[in-house]
């Protein structure tokens, strides 16, 4: 089944999210739509799926104009979608989730799941999905939950499957599995629209690539194009994907972590006897699949974790036992994993977010009286230094894009005297341009002789920035390897496989 979009336009207020977009997806092809965050990819797909009404333009399925006003119209036309955030009820089983909205009842109105079970098994066996219809959703890994979403689309006869940033939530292994599944589906005649900003995945599976920038189609490319070419098309200028690592001199040990064990509230060890050290002028990356204890290690560096044993020595003095504030002021810059949840206060002004840590110290305050004019002038200064694109430093920080939000966090954390920079997933969800900036900034800190502790689940990021790489698996450090390691070796280590 083919899908064609003609002249789709949609604006939200002054923002033109989609500007006369033309696109054709042929039968049985994987068509990647590549674009930065905010380029209009999701809006376009929400229009196709009937979640958003376009201002103009038409949708054709097999060369026939379809009026898609609701998701049910899309489903009836054979279009299925797997959202970035899954639409599953966690406390229901796989089968229950799949029949949701199409329940069949048997004798005396009792829910009949048998038919659904059989169809799930059939699809699951056909594509080696390994999904059991009676498992509870909340007990399943993210990758399997995603397969449940795909099964749902297939069971309701989707011939065109839209996958919205499907790999954003997956581990490297799960990503590989998904890419395999996509190829199988394609061979089975399903067309796939693959929305992403990850170049490697596009090159691995796509048949054709359409690149969208600021709501417009700016070009198409074949998967033979180099990553640099694709990135340049996506961003609209030359991009350095792998930042130049300058010369640096490795100095003394700045951070020494010994026997670090972190437990949850019921006493289970999330992190078990972890040891490492970071020297001045080097980047130690802690790689690992999400959920192997890295978040806890990162948070414990500034005492945000509660049940911690062992020792964390920063420049000769113990960090454990200090307050968060004392740890920060001892010379740790901390970029938390989630900008929105832990890094910034969305409803407060950008200027205020820039001084969350120093708000009660001179020159921002005299006694308990704050000096708003100093806060503002300082914000203007840091806006220029960190190239934060904003309308006014008085605007709430939630009005900024992801990349600019991260710049606010960096600007704040690097404004104190810093010995150690702890950055946790610093580029998660950022567009290529912002990733470039953040990477440069991290390397600048390294080159200036600071110790950098980087936590990342992105192989490319780890390989691009690290001088040494520690791989965490199930709460322990499996190995510490030099930066020359290949992506494949690193991937295996992250999956818990140690070479002899």
């Amino acid at each position: 089944m083919s899908l064609e979009l003609r002249g789709i336009s949609k604006s939200f207020g002054a923002l033109l999210a989609n500007d006369a977009i033309d696109l054709k997806v042929e039968t049985g092809e994987i068509h990647a739509i590549l674009g930065e965050n905010g380029a209009g990819k999701s809006t376009l797909m929400n229009i196709v799926y009937g979640l958003v009404a376009p201002d103009s333009g038409e949708i054709l399925v097999d060369d026939v104009v379809k009026h898609i006003k609701e998701p049910s119209d899309a489903l009836a036309s054979g279009i299925g979608m797997v959202h970035q955030h899954f639409m599953l009820v966690p406390v229901f089983t796989v089968a229950e989730n799949i029949v949701l909205g199409h329940e069949k009842s048997g004798f005396a109105g009792i829910l009949d799941l048998n038919e659904a079970r059989e169809r799930i098994k059939k699809v699951s066996d056909q594509f080696n999905f390994d999904v059991n219809p009676d498992d509870l959703i909340e007990g399943l890994p993210v990758g399997v939950q995603q397969r449940v979403e795909i099964i749902r689309a297939l069971i309701y006869d989707a011939k065109v499957l839209i996958l919205d940033e499907p790999t954003a939530v997956l581990t490297p292994q799960e990503t590989d599995d998904l890419l395999k599944i996509m190829k199988q589906l394609k061979e089975d005649g399903t067309s796939i629209i693959f929305i992403t900003h990850k170049l490697r995945e596009v090159k691995a599976v796509a048949d054709r690539i359409t690149i969208i920038r600021r709501g417009k189609v700016v070009g198409t490319a074949s998967p033979d194009a180099s990553q640099n070419e694709l990135a340049s098309l996506m961003v609209g200028r030359e991009v350095e994907l792998a930042p130049d690592k300058g010369a640096h001199t490795i100095g003394d040990v700045v951070l020494k972590v010994e026997g670090l064990t972190i437990r949850d509230s019921v006493g289970r060890a999330l992190v078990n006897n972890v040891n490492f050290e970071v020297k001045a002028g080097e980047v130690l990356a802690i790689a690992g699949v999400q959920g192997n204890g890295q978040s806890e290690v990162a948070r414990s560096m500034v005492n945000l974790e509660e049940h911690v044993e062992g020792s964390i020595i920063l420049d000769g003095s113990e960090v454990i036992g200090k307050s968060v504030r004392e740890s920060l002021h001892a010379g740790i810059a901390f970029v938390p994993e989630s900008r929105e949840l832990d890094g910034l206060i969305g409803s407060m002004a950008i200027a205020e977010n820039l001084i969350l840590d120093l708000h009660d110290l001179p020159p921002y305050a005299k006694g308990i009286q704050m000096s708003p004019s100093v806060v503002l002038s300082e914000a203007e200064k840091r806006k220029d230094e960190f190239d934060i694109r904003l309308q006014s430093v008085n605007d709430p920080v939630s009005s900024l894009s992801g990349g600019n939000k991260q710049k606010v966090v960096l600007a704040r954390e690097l404004s104190r005297p810093v010995k150690l920079l702890v950055a946790s997933q610093p580029t998660r969800g950022l567009d290529v341009g912002s990733i470039e900036f953040v990477h440069k900034r991290i390397l600048e800190e390294r080159d200036a002789g600071r110790a950098v502790l980087l936590f990342s689940t992105e192989l490319d990021e780890v390989l691009a920035l690290a001088d040494r790489i520690a791989v965490m698996y199930r709460g322990e450090i499996l190995a510490i390897v030099p930066s020359g390691v290949t992506a494949q070796e690193l991937g295996l280590l992250m999956a818990g496989v140690v070479h002899a």
Binding site: S323, I345, A351, L356, I368, P372, L376, N394
Partner: protein, 392 residues
């Protein structure tokens, strides 16, 4: 840091509360018409019905105004100013309400839902009246001590809630509701003890506070309006400064808007919870003092009336901003003061006032209704009410 947050025309901030009030008055008018037996007699004759309904509504709302602001028939030949007597009553009711409302609003801004203004108010009035009747001190000093005692009592009662939340994670809504009961029954028990029971009385009422401990009248002894209203306005100015110009307020707002990010940036969340609840309790306690030292003079089991609960309403109506709370409290004070006159002069029961109050809040809580009725497109509906739900 008001300057730092985006300047928007203050008129726009008043749109929703203002229109909600208009809408509430409209429904109040319908209720007045349909609850009046003489109006209902004409229900079969549309023209007379509308006429008599108009008369009933006009008279009721006129009485409401005359009871709360200005009533020419009260003027006496030797004192024409007496026609302003109702305004004095409005201010007397508004003063404690402003303080209790500020208490709720301040906690709101730090993300805490202080249902306990009632209990803190009660503790404030107990402390103020005890210092007021049991000790002899010079004029001026006495009232200051009584007020300080009330602030401290309220601060302890409120701070306890913050401490419990910070230390044990108990939800402030549950704790404050329970502490309201504790405060009320503690007051009733106190009024049965010899120390608090007024000599010669068997019904629970305390002795009057000594004249030296009373809030001085502002406009002579014919009017009950007293220093309390200025205390309340000064407190509003203080809360404004605290929230927008002080480091403490910065922390309160940071914790209120995103406690996790505040913690990550090194702000001590338990400390903020405890201090904000203590200051909040102190404000409600001060409200109790203004009530007892300004107009009631003695404690009864009904001393706190409904102040602590109306406080939640005015904080909501005032969008948790100090000036908003002042205006909302003046409005509620006027409705309360005028309601009695309306009931006495017309067929309209005082309960209509409660209905209007409730409707105002209802419409503010459901801005979509107001938007729809007045065909507004760009009404700003997100305020600074950052108190979280049960998971907060």
């Amino acid at each position: 840091m008001r300057k730092l947050t985006k300047k928007r025309p203050s008129l726009r901030a008043l749109t929703l509360p203002g229109l909600s009030f208009v809408l509430a008055m409209f429904f109040g008018a319908l209720l007045i018409a349909f609850s009046d037996s003489t109006v209902l007699k004409h229900i079969g004759h549309p023209i007379t019905f509308i006429k008599s309904a108009g008369v009933a509504i006009w008279q009721s709302y006129l009485a409401l105004f005359e009871g709360s602001v200005y009533n020419p028939s009260l003027a006496k030949p030797h004192d024409a100013l007496l026609s302003w007597y109702p305004l004095s009553e409005t201010l007397v009711t508004a003063a404690p309400l402003i303080l209790a409302g500020l208490s709720v609003a301040l906690a709101f801004r730090a993300g805490l839902f202080n249902i306990g203004a009632q209990g803190q108010f009660i503790f404030g009035s107990i402390a103020a009246s005890y210092v007021g009747f049991a000790f002899h001190m010079p004029i001026g000093i006495h009232v200051v001590f009584a007020v300080l005692a009330a602030i401290i009592a309220g601060a302890i009662w409120g701070g306890l809630v913050g401490l419990l939340k910070a230390r044990t994670g108990s939800h402030e809504v549950i704790v404050t509701i329970m502490l309201n009961y504790v405060a009320l029954y503690f007051l009733m028990w106190l009024l049965g003890t010899t120390r608090f029971l007024r000599p010669g009385r068997r019904d629970p009422i305390s002795p009057d506070v000594l004249p030296s401990a009373r809030m001085p009248h502002l406009a002579g002894d014919n009017y009950r309006v007293n220093l309390g209203i200025f205390v309340a306005l000064a407190a509003a100015a203080f809360v404004w400064w605290l929230l927008s110009r002080s480091t403490w307020g910065f922390r309160f707002r940071a914790v209120g808007a995103n406690a996790a990010a505040a913690k990550t940036a090194g702000i001590s969340v338990p400390f903020v919870m405890t201090t904000v609840m203590a200051i909040s309790g102190g404000l409600a306690g001060l409200g109790g003092a203004v009530h007892v030292l300004g107009s009631d003079f003695s404690l009864t089991s009904g001393t706190a009336g409904n102040f602590g609960f109306d406080a939640i309403t005015v904080a909501l109506l005032g969008r948790a901003k100090p000036m908003g709370v002042v205006f909302a409290s003046l409005l509620f004070g006027a409705l309360r003061a005028g309601g009695g006159t309306m009931q006495a002069n017309t067929n309209t029961p005082i309960d209509i006032v409660l209905v209007i109050q409730a409707l105002v809040v209802l419409f503010i809580a459901a801005p979509a209704v107001v938007k729809w009725v007045f065909r507004l497109k760009n009404l700003k509906t997100t305020g600074d009410l950052t108190a979280k739900g049960w998971n907060g």
